[in-house]
């Protein structure tokens, strides 16, 4: 058991999964995920697919805000850039999905880095406000640059194909998106075992001190914006190809706030926390919608009321989390896990 786990080599200390128990649970969970589509309805698969897409985006935001400490309220805009780039490449230029996706990611990263340039001069609150401005400016550009983006009518996006195999239903997309989410989680977690990841954490903790010990903070801040926006762009592109139509309405500041809520509820500065946050923030509104549909028979037309109640629950949940558990779901998980690992002892 972990309280008796001793490492004699740095390499084993750096392992993400340290014991045989954790690894076997992981394998079991993997089998569960692979076999899930055969036992559940399409609606549940849709929810799972949304979770996978948002995991990619949320990990990106967590890298920027949780690990590097740069508050960004403009994440939704970078998701939009990725979605529209991918849509335009596949519809107007006929690129296949597999080439459009990385290009969308890189272009979103490029735009992200441009909006990260102010981070050299301004910090904290002011940077948050600058990213807010970025959100509105990109929003405006998408709505009004009609020759490129069709404005508010939106673009119809084709489903991805692979050697004739078309991904056009929830089940096929499930495996594709699961793969992408897995890559995002693994790459995100491994980023923080590398030099770049440690530089990010140093910048978050005390950036002036980081500069003193030789971390080039401008380069790494730009890199953080770039990597985070790459994840956002990929998430946007996946979303566009999954729902087959994109309009500017989906990428407003509400999306940015949703992403921020996900990583804060889940736990800043932790990849697993981002996953928890996404699952929580997607399942709760879907539960409310289901409850609303069930109650419709008894209470009549309350759809509008349900959307207002969703907003209310959203706000109240976040306030409760921030007041009572500021470190999020990850902290709750950690406490439960440690209690389980160390029982009947209290400390490791």
């Amino acid at each position: 058991m972990p309280c008796g786990l001793f490492h004699t080599v740095y390499k084993t200390d750096e392992h993400i999964f340290k014991t045989i128990w954790v690894k076997s649970w992981l394998v079991a969970f993997g089998f569960f995920l692979l076999l899930l589509p055969f036992f559940v309805s399409n609606y549940v698969l849709y929810v799972c697919n949304m979770i996978s897409i948002f995991i990619v985006g949320a990990i990106g935001l967590n890298i920027l805000t949780g690990f590097t400490g740069q508050i960004s309220i403009g994440h939704g805009a970078f998701v939009a850039v990725g979605a529209y780039t991918s849509a335009i490449l596949t519809t107007k230029l006929g690129f296949p999905f597999w080439i459009a996706l990385p290009i969308a990611g890189f272009f979103a990263a490029f735009i992200g880095m441009i909006f990260g340039i102010p981070s050299l001069r301004i910090k904290g609150l002011y940077l948050a406000i600058a990213t807010l401005a970025a959100q509105f400016i990109i929003d405006y550009a998408i709505v009004h640059w009609e020759r490129l983006t069709n404005g508010i009518t939106g673009i119809s996006v084709p489903s991805p194909t692979l050697f004739g195999f078309v991904f056009d239903n929830d089940k096929k997309f499930y495996y594709l998106l699961l793969g992408f989410a897995l890559v995002a989680v693994v790459s995100g977690r491994n980023l923080f075992r590398t030099r770049v990841g440690r530089a990010f954490i140093a910048i978050r903790d005390r950036d002036i001190s980081a500069e003193l010990i030789g971390v080039d903070i401008f380069k790494y801040k730009l890199l953080a914006f770039g990597i985070s926006s790459f994840y956002a762009g990929v998430a946007g592109s996946l979303w566009g190809h999954y729902t087959n139509v994109i309009t500017p309405e989906h990428f407003t500041i509400v999306l940015s706030i949703d992403y921020l809520a996900m990583i804060i509820v889940g736990g800043l500065g932790s990849i697993l926390g981002a996953v928890f946050g996404v699952v929580f923030m997607i399942i709760v509104p879907e539960l409310l919608t289901t409850v609303g549909i069930l109650l419709k028979s008894t209470f009549g037309e309350i759809t509008a009321l349900i959307s207002a109640i969703k907003g209310l629950v959203f706000g109240v949940t976040i306030i409760l989390f921030l007041v009572f558990e500021p470190d999020g779901l990850f902290e709750i998980w950690r406490r439960v896990r440690d209690y389980w690992k160390l029982w009947p002892f209290s400390y490791r």
Partner: protein, 298 residues
Amino acid sequence: MAENISFLAQLLLTGFVLGSVYSLVALGFVLIYKSTSILNFAQGELLMFGAYVCLALVVGFRIPFIWAFLLTLAFSFILAVLLERAILRPMIGEPIISIIMVTIALSAVLRSLIQIVWGTETKVFPRIFSEEPIRFLGLFIAEVHLYSLLFALICVVLFALFFKFSSAGLAMRVTAFDQQIAQTLGINIKKIFALSWAISAIVSSIGGIILGNINGINNALAAMGLKVFPCVILGGLDSILGAIIGGFSIGILENLAGGYLDPVFGGGVKDVAPFVFLVIILMIKPYGLFGKIRIERL
């Protein structure tokens, strides 16, 4: 030629009127930031609250406008004190991202509550002012605009004087400067926090009532809360004078941009222009015209 000048003058005048409302809201925002270092993303919702409550009192309970107005201010005061006590007090000392998120969540809660109680259609205040526009130096100005402008100016001046000369205003300025020094001087900073939130809610309600009279009341009023950011950044996040000047400037700039650039970009410039100015200001003078420059020490 005369047409161009009158077009420009009309834009300036409308901008001035709009700017007066921005100044009021920016004043409230800066007040909260100065005393508690919290960025209040819920400012727009406080505005909406004032507008909706006043409307409910005037239309639903048939109270004369003056009394409804004063009652609304009292309700805003109570709401602000409750919010500060229940939600913002526990957040003292938390990292800035949590505080931002709390006010964002608060704005969602307030907006949803208003939507549940009052629905989403646009509502209009009953007509108090005549429809005839007044001629002023060859320009037309609606009576409601004129009274709104005067009223907003009076409020701004009153509050500015309050901060400069009253003892409560002095206590707030000391708390904003350094909370520990304020405590050693015997100032009860918890009361100061409550007072700053209360005043901020009151000025926002006034702004909301004014805007409601001009434009009608619906959920879009909440967007005012985001429009206030360019105003306070231009003026400086911790300067009351800056908030006032920033509010007027952004109101005028926004209207000028809308008037002259709308044909070029195909509309909607009014909404995005303040944010472009925001980015430009952040690049040139991040602390605004009158803000205090923050020195970071290790």
